[in-house]
């Protein structure tokens, strides 16, 4: 009996507030836009019984999905989100790996402090961290001020409200997500492995490529997914740092919903976004599983 309550309470909560809402999104994505409250048809009338339900099913269609393929705003936004997420992930990896590597090679008594320094920004508001860059990157901002003073540029660079600012923002905010899994993979590595590799004739660089990198592979994979997956649906960074030319699907969805009040299209956008993310999510879970098995 106790066991039943223990299972039922969180189970029902998640069913009601996670699964059911998602099914509603799926259903509305198949409905038509209407000028009404709620602004879509058909609405399900349970009082009508089975006949009403069949009628209801008959009114659902793929129209919104067809619309998404026809209007190139959407598929360009999807493409551009994936592209930005991909390049941003690569940049984050390039920036994060040396930091994680240096942390793992630091003296053991320093490691907890370094680790805390990486985690600390994570506890600080995401919004504030993105906002901090607005003052730095704007035309009259600190970066331009500095560059002008040094005489490196003659007139201010436009960085804020471009894709470059979006990349900087992503690398900045997601860097801890990349560093932490790589660090934990590297930290477990036995340093005598590198000595063995050198003893067997590797140069330092070869030892790095042939031993260190393969051993941190799972950390790299985990870090990349932890950056890539959320960045595809990112909203705050493109809204604050991106410009009119920055197309990202999270922003499109948000605007579709709040500005155009087109719920069915917004829902269809959400469904496709999830479909795009399902493959990386599954790959990520599988990587985690493998890691758990390797450790257990």
């Amino acid at each position: 009996m106790r066991r039943l309550i223990l299972i039922a309470v969180p189970y029902l909560w998640l069913l009601a507030l996670f699964l059911v809402p998602f099914l509603i999104v799926l259903k509305i994505s198949l409905s038509d836009t209407a000028i009404a409250i709620p602004p879509y048809t058909p609405t399900l009338d349970l009082a009508g019984g089975w006949a009403a339900f069949k009628d209801f099913l008959g009114q659902l269609d793929m129209e919104n999905f067809v619309w998404l393929t026809e209007d190139d705003l959407y598929w360009k936004a999807y493409l551009s989100s994936v592209k930005i997420a991909f390049f941003a992930t690569v940049l984050t990896l390039v920036a994060g790996y040396p930091i994680a590597y240096a942390m793992a090679r630091a003296a053991p008594e320093w490691r907890p402090t370094l680790l805390m320094l990486v985690i600390l920004p994570f506890w600080t508001s995401f919004l504030i961290r993105v906002y901090a860059w607005m003052g730095i990157l704007s035309n009259e901002g600190l970066l331009n001020g500095l560059l002008l003073k040094l005489g490196l540029i003659a007139e201010p660079l436009t960085i804020l409200n471009t894709n470059a600012a979006v990349y900087i923002g992503i690398v900045y905010t997601y860097l801890p997500f990349m560093i932490l899994p790589i660090y934990s993979a590297l930290e477990k590595m036995d340093e005598s492995l590198l000595e063995a590799a050198e003893d067997l004739g590797c140069s330092r660089l070869q030892a790095f490529w042939l031993v260190t990198v393969p051993l941190s592979k799972q950390g790299i994979i985990a870090g990349c997914f932890l950056v890539f997956i959320p960045v595809v649906g990112e909203f705050v960074i493109p809204s604050l740092l991106g410009g009119s030319g920055t197309l990202m699907i999270g922003k499109v969805l948000f605007e579709e919903f709040f500005n155009n009040r087109d719920w069915p299209v917004a829902s269809a956008v959400a469904v496709i976004l999830l479909l795009i993310l399902i493959i990386p999510i599954i790959l990520f879970q599988r990587n985690e599983q493998k890691q758990r098995e390797a450790e257990g």
Binding site: W13, F22, R105
Partner: protein
């Protein structure tokens, strides 16, 4: 440190400079007297004063704190239950779906979570306000709590619970007297995580908040959309300060505890 080369020093220095300079600049400029945020016009705390006069911000802050306390507390209870189910309940009907629902929200784009919850609240005719934000925040943060707590439970020596049963505890008493005190650190960090996530959330709150309740992130977002403002700098500095003090205190406390424990263990070894 044989392998701690100059390269490592450089990457750490650059890395941490990159992570911290923007925030340090933000903090410094919050004490700037000028309205123009990029021109330094002398030290001043006027923006803090103005911030404290701004009732809209104070209201939003109060809403945010209430939401965060309520949602993280409920999420901790539900998440701990869910973790217990995941690790201990064995097989039951629908277990795969259950663990799927625990892990999915962790990687679900926030826009989708927010949208789907909003559609649910409208569908059942629940007025958007503080309650709906709490429900939404509880749902995603309970998943984080359950991940944190279940990773602790996995390494928990099950014979401790059996020993409690053996010594006369009912299963519930065993949980209360043995399991809970031991996993308490994980439960507390789960709560802190849930609390921070709730404080921090903009997207889901934007979907689920109504005109009657606005949270601080929503307020900040709509303000900074128009550009950098010194009041926001001041507000950010306060938030950064609270987090920094909190995290450093927590880590010092846990470090001292572990040093003490080590010393005691060594003393015990010597005593025998």
């Amino acid at each position: 440190m044989k392998r701690f080369s100059a390269f490592n020093v450089v990457s750490l220095t650059l890395g941490f400079a990159f992570l911290y300079l923007p925030m340090i600049i933000l903090v410094i400029y919050s004490f700037n007297d000028s309205k123009l945020v990029t021109v330094w016009a002398g030290f001043s705390t006027r923006w803090y004063g103005e911030l404290l006069q701004n009732e809209a911000f104070l209201d939003a802050a109060w809403v945010t704190i209430r939401v965060a306390v309520a949602s993280s507390t409920i999420a901790t209870v539900l998440g701990t239950m869910a973790a217990y189910v995941l690790v201990r309940a064995g097989r039951f009907h629908g277990r795969t779906l259950f663990s799927g629902m625990i892990y999915a929200p962790l990687v679900m784009p926030e826009v989708i979570t927010g949208l789907s919850l909003l559609l649910l609240f409208i569908g059942i005719g629940l007025d958007r306000g503080i309650v709906t934000i709490i429900l939404a925040h509880t749902t995603f943060s309970m998943c984080y709590v359950s991940v944190v707590v279940s990773s602790r439970l996995v390494s928990f020596d099950r014979s401790l619970e059996e020993a409690a049963l053996d010594l006369g505890c009912t299963p519930f008493a065993a949980f209360r007297l043995v399991t809970l005190p031991i996993i308490a650190p994980a439960v507390i960090s789960g709560w802190l995580l849930a609390f921070t996530l709730s404080l921090d959330d903009l997207v889901i709150a934007s979907f689920t908040a109504g005109p009657s309740a606005t949270t601080l992130p929503i307020k900040i977002f709509s303000a900074v959309r128009l550009g950098v403002s010194p009041e926001i700098n001041a507000l950010s500095t306060i938030m950064i300060g609270i987090v920094t003090v909190g995290v450093i205190t927590a880590s010092l406390v846990s470090k001292r505890a572990s040093v003490k424990q080590q010393a005691e263990e060594q003393a015990a070894v010597r005593a025998t």
